[in-house]
């Protein structure tokens, strides 16, 4: 990266501090404004899911007691669980507890929702994080090689493969991978999960196939995006001409100049992807038997376990909102044009 480690002389430090404070203030206000705008969204999402869940036939009490239960038993349990209260009351009860962080308890297991989330979220994060890692680590070099020789052999190949990769459904890829690696070759396990505390190696082994299932599509998407951006920079930007005029080799121009500027666009897209990704994660977790948030969600819907569902939906929505916000903020923070404010004469 750039000379970020060079010691700043005193006058510069003072000026940077001033500039930083000046820049920080509008950024902070921007963040605050966005957070405020996000609140109705969170409200809307949780309310909507509450509505949806309550329109379903049956409720937690029925699920818990099973098909043999008598109506009076059900009513008893409902009263105990607070399910007999009117709809809006129940939502309000949940809401005003939720905003202070009390997400309630599971209706089926009694476990606190917070602890359920606490044990499941890290699993899902690890899976998604692994997928992102694979996709980004490969997308950058592939895009660079493609952009080095547009319409060359490497470029055309990577375009063909990325188009194919984009067109594969993650669950199809999952099943194909299971068939090849677990069933036929037997080198990787198909179902299950091992916590990293127990054995990091095993943990990774169980996560490889699911991470690739999610990651391949991401990889193809990011590669195409980055390549297009790199080409735009190389073909359209004046500073590229300057770089060439210095006598730099084309590869260096790509990596030291164009890539820097293209990474911005990529980062914002990565942040925005997060939301849509969560949906597919549910299916993947289901196929591979990974005890993450997705799996938990499916079970909770089965059990009509509203507090758990609300908790998960709430977290999902928060993640999506934060991701969108992060995309905007990251862009303004990383771009030195915005970070360092106005020109000093």
């Amino acid at each position: 990266m750039s000379s970020a480690s060079a010691p700043l002389s005193a006058p510069l430090a003072a000026r940077a501090g001033r500039a930083g404070r000046l820049a920080g203030s509008p950024t902070l206000r921007f963040i605050l404004r966005r957070l405020l705008a996000a609140i109705p969204v969170l409200f809307g999402v949780t309310f909507l899911s509450f509505v949806v869940m309550n329109s379903l036939p049956g409720d937690a009490a029925q699920e818990l007691l099973g098909a043999q239960a008598t109506p009076s038993e059900i009513h008893q349990l409902e009263a105990k669980l607070g399910l007999d209260k009117p709809f809006l009351t129940r939502y309000w009860d949940w809401l005003h507890q939720a905003v202070i962080g009390h997400l309630g308890h599971s209706l089926s297991s009694g476990q606190s929702v917070a602890s359920i989330l606490g044990s499941d979220l890290p699993v899902t994060f690890e899976l998604v994080g692994f997928a992102f890692l694979i996709s980004l680590a490969l997308a950058v070099p592939i895009a660079l090689v493609s952009a080095r020789n547009p319409n060359g052999v490497a470029d055309r190949l990577s375009m063909i493969f990325s188009m194919a990769g984009l067109s594969v459904a993650p669950y199809v890829l999952a099943l194909v991978l299971i068939y090849v690696f677990a069933v036929k070759l037997g080198v990787l396990p198909a179902i299950g999960w091992v916590p990293p505390g127990q054995s990091l190696w095993q943990n990774i082994r169980f996560l490889i196939l699911p991470a690739v299932s999610i990651g391949l599509g991401l990889l193809c998407f990011y590669t195409r995006l980055l390549r297009a951006d790199l080409l735009e920079q190389m073909q359209g930007e004046d500073y590229v001409v300057t770089a060439r005029a210095k006598g730099l080799r084309p590869w260096r121009v790509l990596t030291r100049h164009a890539l820097r500027n293209s990474l911005f666009g990529l980062i914002t897209v990565v942040a925005l992807n997060l939301g849509t990704l969560l949906g597919f994660t549910v299916v993947i977790e289901d196929i591979f038997g990974i005890p993450g948030i997705g799996h938990e969600l499916l079970q909770a819907i089965d059990n009509r376990d509203i507090p758990v569902i609300e908790g998960i939906v709430f977290v999902f929505a928060v993640i999506v909102v934060l991701a969108n916000l992060a995309a905007d903020v990251l862009y303004s923070v990383l771009d030195p044009r915005i970070r360092y404010g106005q020109p000093t004469e």
Binding site: A6, L8, Y239, T242, A245, G247, H257, P336, P343
Partner: protein, 327 residues
């Protein structure tokens, strides 16, 4: 140091654009000695920028270059890309028009200068940084030490152009090409930058090629002037001679277009009528014909030859202007 720094002979550059062959430069010839300043004047589309790029070796591989460019007795045309790369920045360097877009917005000034230094010589980061500081001081950038750590957008246009010049000087080139280097700046800054360039040139003994559409600028700073039109050189002379005895109707028209204090107020500006020609369509005859007040049938049919008609004064015209009493 050789007698001749740069010799351009019959330079032709062809591009393929939209399936057509475009001859951007058509037989350009001029030369310069070390320490000399040559102004290449023309409208947009005259081929001045492309010829400069050809001297830099910055044209895309698809461009067909014929003719000869001898820099320091070394033939540039036909050199491999690798050889051209070592030449760029080190033998010839270039300063571009728009310093805002020509500097990488996400890279610190110091890093951009260091890059120019370290491409051509083995230098540690520390010594490169020292040299970068020297360069910034050489181009008279105030508060140079702080500027090293700043980003381009934190500097004004004039300052950015100084940085561009510093980058260009990093590897001690023997020839500096300023491609409309001051066009994007305000008049005061323009004068400052031009003064700086002249000063640097004299101090470092560089050759300087000024590319511009501004004859007035050439008058103040250049030793020789080459006027280009439609990819060809149409007039060339030492500055004094050119302005004293303008021959080409085109040059005359350019001169007349410069607003003068002596003219009556509210007198209409004499612009050059018409448009520059479409370079994809090569007509026989002089390309300036449609816009020339002195054009005849002969001009339409036969292209005049660019040759030395008077000592040190070359032009290509069947009906050159007579000496006129000039105000």
């Amino acid at each position: 140091m050789s007698e001749s720094l740069l010799e351009v002979s019959d330079l032709r550059v062809d591009f393929r654009h939209d399936g057509r062959l475009v001859r951007a430069v058509d037989g350009l010839t001029y030369s310069m000695r070390p320490g000399q300043t040559v102004a290449v004047i023309g409208e947009s589309g005259s081929g001045k920028t492309v010829s400069a790029r050809a001297i830099m070796g910055l044209l895309p591989p698809s461009a067909k270059v014929t003719g000869s460019i001898r820099f320091d007795e070394v033939e540039m045309v036909g050199l491999s890309e690798k050889a051209l790369r070592s030449h760029r920045g080190c033998g010839v360097a270039m300063v571009f028009q728009d310093p805002t877009r020509s500097l990488n917005p996400t890279m610190r000034i110091g890093a951009q200068i260091r890059e120019a230094i370290q491409t051509h010589e083995k230098a540690s980061r520390g010594s490169a940084q020292d040299r970068a500081l020297e360069l910034l001081e050489l181009v008279r950038l105030p508060a140079a030490r702080e500027r090293l750590e700043q980003y381009p957008h934190q500097l004004s246009g004039g300052m950015r152009q100084r940085v561009m010049i510093a980058i260009a000087l990093a590897a001690s080139p023997r020839l500096l090409i300023a491609d409309e280097a001051t066009t994007a700046l305000d008049v005061t800054t323009q004068a400052q930058i031009m003064e700086l360039l002249r000063d640097l040139q004299q101090r470092l003994g560089m050759g300087l090629i000024m590319i511009s559409h501004d004859l007035g600028l050439a008058a103040s700073f250049a030793d020789d002037v080459v006027v280009m039109y439609a990819g060809r050189a149409v007039e060339r002379a030492p500055t004094q001679m050119l302005f004293a005895h303008v021959r080409m109707p085109y040059t005359r028209a350019l001169l007349d277009a410069i607003p003068r204090l002596e003219n009556e107020s509210h007198a209409p500006l004499a612009a050059v009528p018409g448009q520059p020609p479409n370079l994809a369509l090569r007509e026989p005859g002089c390309p300036f014909t449609p816009r020339c007040p002195s054009a005849t049938d002969r001009c339409r049919e036969h292209a005049p030859v660019f040759e030395e008609h008077e000592p040190e004064h070359l032009w290509a015209c069947w009906h050159p202007c007579e000496d006129r009493v000039r105000l």
